[in-house]
C-alpha cells in the first residue's frame, strides 16, 4: 500500500468522526475543539493531494485564526448555557437528519457517476502543475490569471473589517422599529 493510501485511511475516519462528534457535543467549546481536529485532518488531505501551500494556509487561517475567533466569542457569550431540546417545528430533527443523509447519498452517487471510484490522479502532478514547488506554481497562476480577483479580495477584507467595527461599536444610536417591537413582551406568550 502506498503512503498516501495509508494516510487517507488513517485520517479519513478521524475526519468524519470528528465532524460527527462536533455535531453531537452539547458544549460549544468541545464542538469547536472537534472542529479544529477536523480542520487539521483536512489540512493533511491537502498535503496528500499536493497542495502544500493550502496545507499551511488551512492550519494558519482556519485552525489558528478562525477557531481562536470562534473560541473567543464562545467565551464572551458564556459556555454554561444548555441548548433547549424543544422542537419549534414538529419532527425537525428527524427531517433534518433524513435530508442530510439524502444529500450524502446523492453526492456519493454523483461522484460515482461523474468520476468513478477507480480513477487515480495523474502521476505527473508535481512535475507539471506543481513545477518549481507548490507555492511558486500557485503564485504563478494567482498573479497571472487571477490578479483582478486577488485585488478584489483586498477590498472585501477591508469592507469586512469596517463592517465589524460598525457592528461591534457600542455607540448609542436611534432605536429602530424592529427593536421597539422586540422590547415589548410577546402577546402570544403572555
Amino acid at each position: 500500500m502506498a503512503v498516501d493510501t495509508v494516510v487517507f485511511w488513517v485520517f479519513g475516519p478521524i475526519s468524519v468522526g470528528s465532524a460527527i462528534a462536533m455535531l453531537l457535543q452539547r458544549n460549544a467549546v468541545h464542538a469547536a475543539l472537534f472542529l479544529v481536529v477536523n480542520f487539521f485532518t483536512i489540512a493533511v488531505f491537502y498535503l496528500v493531494l499536493g497542495a502544500s501551500f493550502l496545507f499551511a494556509v488551512q492550519i494558519i487561517v482556519y485552525a489558528g485564526a478562525i477557531m481562536v475567533l470562534f473560541l473567543f466569542v464562545i467565551m464572551l457569550l458564556g459556555v454554561d448555557r444548555g441548548e433547549s431540546l424543544v422542537e419549534r417545528i414538529r419532527g425537525q430533527r428527524v427531517i433534518g437528519i433524513v435530508l442530510g443523509v439524502g444529500i450524502a447519498i446523492e453526492l456519493i452517487a454523483a461522484v460515482r457517476a461523474g468520476v468513478g471510484f477507480a480513477r487515480v490522479g495523474p502521476a505527473a502532478f508535481d512535475a507539471v502543475a506543481n513545477r518549481g514547488g507548490n507555492a511558486e506554481a500557485i503564485s504563478r497562476v494567482l498573479f497571472r490569471d487571477y490578479f483582478f480577483p486577488f485585488e478584489a479580495t483586498s477590498v472585501l477584507l477591508i469592507v469586512a473589517a469596517i463592517a465589524v467595527v460598525v457592528l461591534a461599536s457600542r455607540r448609542r444610536r436611534l432605536t429602530t422599529r424592529a427593536e421597539v417591537v422586540a422590547q415589548v413582551p410577546d402577546e402570544e406568550a403572555a
Binding site: A2, D4, G12, S15, V16, A19, M22, L23, L35, N38, I42, F45, Y46, V48, L49, G50, A51, F53, L54, Y62, I66, L69, F70, V73, I74, L77, E83, S84, R88, Q92, R93, I95, G96, G100, V101, I103, R112, V115, G116, F117, A118, V120, G121, P122, F125, I138, V141, D145, Y146, F150, T153, L157, V159, A160, A163, V164, L167, V181, A182, D186
Partner: protein, 101 residues
C-alpha cells in the same frame, strides 16, 4: 499517488452532509455557524481533489479565494451573533422571532 480521487470526494460529501445536518438540527447560532464552516471546508477539499485530478492549479486557487471569503464571512457573522446576543441575551436561533409574520 495511488489513492483514487473519488475517496477524497466521498469524504468531502460526507463532511458536507454532516454540516448540513448540523445547520438543520442544532439551535445554538455558534454551532450552526461552525457547521457552515465545516461545509465550506468540505467544498474546499473537493476543489483541491479536482485540482489534483485535472492536473492544474485553478482548483487550488479557487479554494484559496474561498478561504479568504470564509474568513471575512466568519468575522462579520460572529460580530452579528455578538450584537444579537447583546440585545436578546441569547444565542439560540429559536429566540430570534422578531421577523415572524
Amino acid at each position: 499517488m495511488s489513492t483514487p480521487i473519488a475517496y477524497f470526494l466521498v469524504v468531502s460529501a460526507m463532511l458536507f452532509a454532516i454540516g448540513t445536518i448540523g445547520v438543520l438540527v442544532r439551535k445554538n447560532a455558534l454551532i450552526i455557524f461552525m457547521s457552515v464552516e465545516l461545509q465550506l471546508n468540505a467544498v474546499n477539499l473537493s476543489l483541491v481533489a479536482f485540482s489534483r485530478m485535472h492536473n492544474n492549479l485553478n482548483g487550488q486557487v479557487l479554494a484559496f479565494f474561498s478561504m479568504v471569503v470564509a474568513a471575512a464571512e466568519v468575522v462579520v457573522g460572529l460580530a452579528i451573533i455578538v450584537t444579537v446576543y447583546r440585545r436578546r441575551r441569547s444565542a439560540s436561533v429559536d429566540d430570534l422571532t422578531v421577523l415572524r409574520g
